[in-house]
């Protein structure tokens, strides 16, 4: 398990970096929908663009999240080249 110190909100992940989703905060209905879309814990995301509104690639699809949503998702950044 990664130490909690390495976690950062998805909106702060830099463009082009890949990370693993660790914690989903926010209300239940939001978390449920994210997980249903394959955006659940342990999924790998690659950030494509954006600091306020984020665009991420998960499992071959592009998902856009607004700032509040991207704040609610904590990820662990992976070293470059891991995919």
């Amino acid at each position: 398990m990664p130490s909690p110190l390495n976690l950062l909100p998805l909106c702060q992940l830099s463009a082009g970096a890949t990370a693993r989703i660790c914690v989903i905060n926010g209300d239940d209905s939001f978390a449920q929908r994210l997980r249903e879309m394959g955006f659940g814990e342990a999924a790998l995301v690659t950030k494509i663009s954006g600091r306020t509104t984020s665009l991420c690639q998960v499992n071959g699809t592009r998902i856009a999240l607004n700032h509040d949503a991207a704040m609610a998702i904590l990820v662990e950044a992976l070293p470059a080249g891991v995919r």
């Binding site: 449920q32 997980r35 394959g38 663009s49």
Partner: protein
């Protein structure tokens, strides 16, 4: 027919039924179920229902709730389908299988369609359809709806009378099982649901406490509702995360399945769409591109449309002059030239521009850029308390507010949806185009100024409407509809080359609608208006046209209205136009054609803009000064002048309250803003 958004359901539906439902490359094209018919291999008719796209049966918005309730047999207007076609985007198998997994629970005959198989193969995916069919216990068909591949196989499967019932190797996770069993028993006893459907519904009810309820669906029986409440309270007390457990269990099953049937011939990497998106939604390049698209739109509306417009204009004028030389002077001749040609002809001139607008909107829709525009707009939208998804209905409203308002059904939050509905008609729709163009033509003499000025003035009107929409969204979100800023999750579909045939078909459809309107409503109003401006006749048959129209019915009514609109610089003749154009905004142009055409008794028919330039106040002052033209355009930016929109808002909000509120706030704003502009303009000496 069910599936995730953007998996190509509607394309497949059209290919099967020969129907021409609208297809787009953005979520929310199908917001209501659509029914079509096709014939089985044995010639028996089959009804196909195209349901809105959804990621899950746990509905978050009204369009997704339609899907859930139809499948559970809870819609009063739709019987439970006897077979379910699950459409999947083969390039994104895992996520698409989640909805399939939920649907397999129902134990109905299911056909799994792997659509866009060609794209999947190109990205290096190999799917073993035989293994997939064996594992799920259903028929699996690979196809590509756009290319028409695999349709015969699909029709063959649909025609089978011995379709197997879905069965899959998956058990309800242990922690939820007791609750599911009790609720299932209640659902089959008290709600008369078949056992497997009862189990599927129980699973959903227990893991989706915040599900959306819609009108027209059968509610739960009292007994089931009581059982559900008990378990919900217990779940909350014990802080169980049933929904998380269930989703994980389903995804575990899907992962195992994909391990068996899915092979990658090369590692997953960023696709072309991903790389394009890195530029097109970039905070600098993205906006530049967006601006470029908009500029191209406005310029082509002015430059390109000019040639066909002049052509139509000349022919209409020739027709009118021809009739004037052929027929003896009299009421019949006036009815034809002033009423019919003056009214309808004045409108048809704008067809080329409307076609260009729909071409651009079609281009944005079919390539998938629409969703990117929503992404870019998320930040400005968040400043007024809405999220980017609300921008898709607003963008659609540039063409017409009616499909825009329908598209709000994809918005999860009810308050946000209502705010979006309320502001959508402020986006300048295609019906305003003729009004703006007529005013710009009157305001700026054709030869004197380059088209840049005209396009700029037009752009200003569009900006004004958009800013107004944002301003009111901000106001409404702070007063009437206070709610937290919504969290947005939105999928951006893969870019696709524009489907020109689809775009042209839509353009033809829209122009037909436009011409039909011109031939029916606008023709009718023009004739009635001509009658109202011609009768009763002035006692002196030699009276001038001005004197005649002043004593007519329209003149009398207009004079009653004049005190209200005079502070805006409008006279009673403009007032008549404002009233008639409540039916639809473009009627203003035809009304001006009739009113000022009637006044112009010369043998040559003048284009409406020249007739307007010649119009005077009784004291001889010019009526359509640049300031009045500008004020009038601004009036049309804000005023709610569309009966069809009122009807749609009534239907979508299920009450008269919101459409009436909308008329009041929009037209009220229009009056106030025009008053301010006109009075300030006067003070400044314009």
């Amino acid at each position: 027919m069910v599936g995730n958004p953007n998996c190509g359901k509607t394309t497949l539906f059209n290919a099967l039924t020969g129907l021409r439902q609208k297809v787009g490359n953005y979520p929310g094209v199908t917001v209501e179920k659509k029914i079509g018919e096709c014939y089985s291999q044995h010639g028996r008719p089959m009804k196909i229902i195209d349901l809105p796209g959804a990621y899950s049966l746990a509905a978050r918005s009204p369009d997704e709730a339609v899907l859930r309730d139809v499948l559970f047999g809870r819609r009063e207007d739709t019987p439970q389908p006897d077979r379910i076609i699950c459409v999947l985007d083969a390039a994104n198998l895992e996520r698409n299988l989640y909805l399939v997994h939920q649907i397999l629970d129902l134990g109905r005959p299911v056909i799994v369609v792997l659509n866009m198989m060609d794209v999947a193969v190109k990205t290096g995916l190999r799917i073993d359809t035989h293994k997939l069919a064996a594992a799920l216990g259903v028929v699996v068909v690979a196809c590509s709806a756009i290319k028409g591949e695999g349709l015969v196989e699909l029709k063959l499967a649909m025609s089978r009378s011995d379709l197997p019932l879905a069965r899959h190797r998956w058990d309800v996770p242990a922690p939820i099982a007791p609750a599911v069993a009790e609720l299932q028993a209640s659902l089959s006893d008290a709600d008369a649901q078949p056992p497997l459907i009862a189990r599927a519904e129980a699973l959903l009810l227990l893991t989706d406490f915040e599900s959306v309820r819609i009108a027209g669906s059968k509610p739960l029986s009292a007994r089931t509702a009581a059982v559900l409440t008990t378990w919900q309270q217990r779940c909350a007390r014990e802080e169980n995360n049933w929904s998380g457990t269930l989703i994980r269990s389903r995804y575990d099953a899907i992962d195992t399945l994909c391990g068996e049937v899915l092979r990658r011939t090369r590692p997953q990497e960023l696709s072309g769409s991903d790389r394009l998106d890195a530029i097109l939604v970039h905070s600098v390049w993205g906006w530049l591109f967006f601006g470029f698209i908009m500029a191209a739109l406005f310029f082509s509306i002015f430059y390109l449309a000019e040639y066909p417009m002049n052509w139509i204009d000349t022919h209409i004028a020739a027709l009118s002059s021809g009739i004037k030389t052929m027929l003896p002077p009299g009421d019949l001749r006036d009815l034809l030239t002033d009423g019919v040609i003056g009214g309808v002809g004045g409108i048809i001139v704008f067809l080329p521009q409307i076609l260009i607008l729909f071409f651009f909107v079609g281009l944005l829709e079919s390539t998938g850029y629409m969703a990117r525009a929503a992404f870019l707009m998320d930040r400005p939208m968040s400043k007024v308390g809405l999220h980017g998804k609300s921008f898709i209905p607003l963008l659609g409203s540039y063409a017409c507010a009616i499909p825009g308002i329908m598209a709000t059904r994809t918005i999860e939050n009810a308050k946000d949806r209502l705010v979006t509905i309320l502001i959508a008609p402020l986006m300048s729709c295609s019906a305003r185009l003729p009004v703006y163009l007529l005013m710009i033509a009157t305001l700026l003499p054709a030869a004197a100024l380059p088209a840049t000025w005209k396009a700029g003035l037009m752009l200003l009107m569009y900006l004004l409407g958009t800013l107004g929409a944002f301003g009111f969204a901000w106001l409404f979100k702070r007063t009437l509809f206070k709610s937290a800023r919504p969290l947005m999750i939105m999928e951006l579909p893969a870019y696709q080359p524009p489907r020109l045939r689809e775009i042209i078909r839509q353009m033809v459809e829209r122009s037909w609608l436009f011409l039909k309107n011109a031939g029916t409503i606008i023709l009718g109003i023009s004739i009635v208006l001509w009658f109202l401006t011609t009768y009763p006749k002035h006692p002196d048959p030699q009276a001038s046209a001005d004197a005649q129209i002043a004593v007519s019915f329209a003149g009398q009514a207009g004079h009653l209205l004049e005190p209200v609109i005079k502070p805006l610089g409008f006279d009673w003749r403009i007032g008549v136009g404002l009233v008639t154009s409540f039916a639809a905004r473009e009627v203003f142009v035809s009304s001006m054609g009739v009113i000022f055409g009637v006044q112009d008794n010369a043998e040559h028919a003048l284009p409406v803009r020249d007739a307007l330039r010649a119009a005077r106040w009784p004291n001889g002052a010019i009526l359509f000064t640049p300031l009045v033209c500008f004020t009038l355009m601004v009036y049309y930016v804000f005023a709610m002048q569309c009966m069809s929109t009122v009807a749609v808002v009534k239907r979508e909000t299920n009450s008269w309250r919101w459409p009436l509120f909308q008329i009041a706030y929009m037209t009220g704003t229009a009056w106030l803003v025009c008053f301010a502009i006109y009075q300030m303009g006067r003070v400044l000496g314009y």
